[in-house]
């Protein structure tokens, strides 16, 4: 049974996704209900679906000193790091605490497997990797964190969390534990996943990809749209930044049910949610907004809608924002944490884009259109393959549970 935790300050955060680079672009797109999805123009062979592709990744070469890390995923990470003054904020923290006192904890599902795919598409006649692709460090899941730790010049604990679509939600839990134990004074958390054939054709093989833009919680939803994104946050103790928004709690749990289908009763999701509420010292009724996992898969949305109905009153507003960004997989946790933080900061609840014909399973909590209201407490749900569930709780500065 978790005990209430000491809140952690979120002193900087940023995201880059199909709806734009940085916080202002995200807020603008959410306010205008403008989706970032487009017909698939990415995969190496045709595949009829819609994708959440980030503009400008191809044109963003890494600085020459980081050239060995070149690949789409690390370029997307670099795009993300260069928004909202994030690099400067980390540099200031490094000067304040020392490089060895800041952890780097990043989530990713497939990291730079796109580069490994490319290496296989153009093998040498002898069957080996071409010289320019023979860079061992990018052909594994730690590629992202290893690049970012070098780019940010950090020397503390450095870990990749790869639990599919809950990866970059769980990093907040890793960070809180390390700060609580006094191993570090701050943590850079986040996640990056980029479009690649593995996920496009893989989810297609599982018959989980819609041919249309995804429609979370819509009665006619028929699958996900895959997206890509980068997002980061800087976490410190509250006394370092009393006016910053806060991580109030988190919960983690396993379904113990199936590798690629959620538990029909949402058992693991509910355990993670209740664990987060306990750590945050919150009653469900104190939650103003939930950014749902809401992938637009038949099963996820059915299970998650039922969970919202049975736990929360109608005053708690809920929506999925995957109709904007697509499902950014291992980056979904941090992107949607960012949306939850924007909701707190701007008193704004983004509508559930794509739910034009709401599934009757959805109760009165669902915000189908944008709403303006003060948000003191916001949750973010992230559920992954393997039955891996995470829930994060955030609040405005000064909120008392």
């Amino acid at each position: 049974m978790p005990v209430p935790m000491t809140p952690i300050a979120i002193t900087a955060y940023t995201a880059s996704s199909a709806i734009g680079h940085g916080l202002a672009a995200h807020l603008e797109a959410l306010r205008q209900a403008r989706s970032g999805l487009r017909p698939n123009d990415f995969s190496s062979a045709p595949l009829a679906c819609w994708i959440g592709r980030v503009d400008g990744v191809e044109e963003t070469a890494l600085p020459a000193v980081h050239a060995i890390w070149e690949c789409r995923n690390n370029r997307l990470a670099w795009v993300g790091l260069n928004q909202d003054g994030f690099l400067e904020q980390v540099q200031a923290a490094r000067e304040r605490y020392g490089a060895g006192r800041i952890a780097l904890l990043l989530g990713t599902s497939t990291a730079s497997i796109g580069a490994t795919e490319e290496a296989y598409r153009r093998l040498n006649p002898d069957g080996g990797f071409a010289d320019d692709m023979l860079r061992p460090a990018i052909h594994g899941p730690h590629s992202l964190a290893a690049f970012v730790t070098e780019a940010l010049q950090l020397e503390g604990p450095c870990l990749t969390i790869s639990t599919a679509c809950s990866s970059s939600a769980k990093v907040f839990a890793n960070a809180e534990r390390m700060i609580r134990l006094g191993l570090v004074d701050a943590a850079v958390v986040g996640g990056v996943d980029s479009l690649c054939d593995s996920v496009l054709f893989g989810f297609n093989a599982l018959e989980l990809v819609s041919a249309e833009p995804c429609r979370p919680f819509d009665a006619a939803r028929d699958g996900i749209s895959i997206g890509e994104a980068a997002g980061f946050a800087l976490l410190e103790r509250v006394d370092a930044a009393p006016d910053a928004p806060r991580l109030l709690g988190y919960g983690e749990a396993s379904d113990a049910y199936h590798m690629s289908t959620p538990h029909p009763d949402g058992v693991g999701a509910e355990l993670a949610l209740r664990d987060a509420l306990l750590r945050a010292g919150l009653d469900a009724a104190q939650v103003d907004y939930i950014n749902l996992h809401g992938t637009a898969s038949l099963k996820n949305d059915e299970v998650e809608a039922a969970l919202v109905n049975r736990v929360f009153p109608s005053s708690t507003r809920a929506s999925s924002t995957k109709g904007f960004t697509g499902h950014t997989l291992g980056a979904a946790g941090i992107v949607e944490a960012t949306v939850a933080l924007l909701a707190l900061e701007h008193g704004f609840i983004p509508g559930n884009l794509g739910g034009g014909t709401p599934d009757p399973l959805c109760g009165p909590s669902f915000a189908w259109r944008n709403e303006q209201q003060r948000v003191d407490v916001a949750l973010s749900n992230s559920f992954g393959f393997g039955g891996n569930n995470a829930c994060l709780a955030f609040s405005r500065a000064g909120f008392r549970a």
Binding site: S43, S44, A45, L47, Y97, A99, G100, S109, I113, T116, E117, A119, Y120, R121, L123, G127, G128, F129, L134, R135, H139, G140, P141, H142, A145, A146, T149, E155, G156, P157, C158, L159, T160, I161, S162, T163, N174, R177, M178, L181, L183, V184, D197, S198, F201, G202, F203, A205, L206, E252, A253, S254, A256, Y257, M259, G268, F385, G386, G387, N388
Partner: protein
């Protein structure tokens, strides 16, 4: 570099080990005593008896390896797996599936196998394990290249101390295959597991004291352990495993590219 001297203390209650030469932790003791243990059966796939038979047939090799060592460690600890939180570390995940997927995607992408795709997630072993043991406790899957064991150990010990609960740590990598092998250099399988707990109990085998340090050259190992470590990133756990076999002393592991982990061990068994 400014480092913390914060001391982390936890107890080891169970140890699992599997490689083509070592069927379990006892086999490592035999090697260190100068003898050659009975290896696992030739052309081995780990038995991974925790999995139901049908799941065992479906599971990829990386899952069998992780579940095999996890099952050994939990059995030694005497705990039930159902309530154990778990940390599954692996430098590369399932390299055979990555090789299959990249080769298929380069030729006929629309024929990618859905099962092999969902088995390709880095947390596949965590998923199969929690399903087989009906465990709803938190589980995670992590990596940090050759520092995967050290970084995974730091995460697991962090959970033990922060949550005051026992935690299962698994670190395993299967042998690489196909063109990818040139990049990973992982030429033989290796997996190990520890059950870690916050308090000394009747099942405590050893007590660990961990301190973060600046990066150090890793602890030297006698042959054949040294070659095994070169052949698999998860085998960077061997200095600690050898320490556990010996029962006392200290070792240094990598916890990150620029961070070391000093471990002092006191035997209680």
């Amino acid at each position: 570099m400014k480092t913390t001297n914060r001391l982390l203390q936890c107890c080891v209650e169970g140890i699992g080990l599997w490689s083509p030469q070592l069927a379990n932790f006892e086999a490592l003791r035999t090697v260190l005593a100068g003898s050659t243990p009975e290896p696992p059966p030739p052309r081995p796939r780990p038995a991974a008896t925790t999995l139901p038979a049908n799941e065992g047939r479906r599971a990829p090799e990386s899952v069998l390896l992780a579940v095999e060592v996890a099952g050994q460690a939990v059995a030694m600890s005497g705990r039930t797996a159902t309530t154990l939180a778990s940390v599954f570390a692996s430098s590369q995940g399932d390299q055979a599936i990555t090789d299959y997927m990249c080769a298929t995607l380069a030729q006929i992408p629309t024929e990618l196998s859905p099962t092999r795709f969902h088995n390709s997630v880095h947390n596949a072993a965590a998923g199969y394990w929690t399903i087989a043991t009906e465990c709803r406790a938190p589980s995670t899957a992590v990596c940090a290249r050759h520092a995967s064991f050290g970084a995974g150990l730091l995460e697991a010990v962090g959970q033990v101390l922060a949550e005051q609960r026992p935690v299962l740590l698994v670190c395993s990598d299967i042998r690489g295959s196909g063109p990818l092998l040139e990049a990973t250099g992982c030429t033989q399988s290796f997996g190990c597991a520890l059950v870690l707990a916050p308090q000394v109990s009747t099942t405590t085998l050893a007590q660990l004291q961990l301190t973060l340090t600046a990066a150090h050259p890793a602890t030297s190992l006698p042959q054949p352990l040294s070659s095994w470590r070169d052949a698999n990133p998860s085998a960077h756990a061997l200095p600690l495993l050898a320490l556990l076999a010996r029962g006392h002393g200290h070792c240094l592991l990598d916890a990150a590219a620029t961070l070391g982990l000093q471990i002092d061990l006191e035997s209680l068994a």
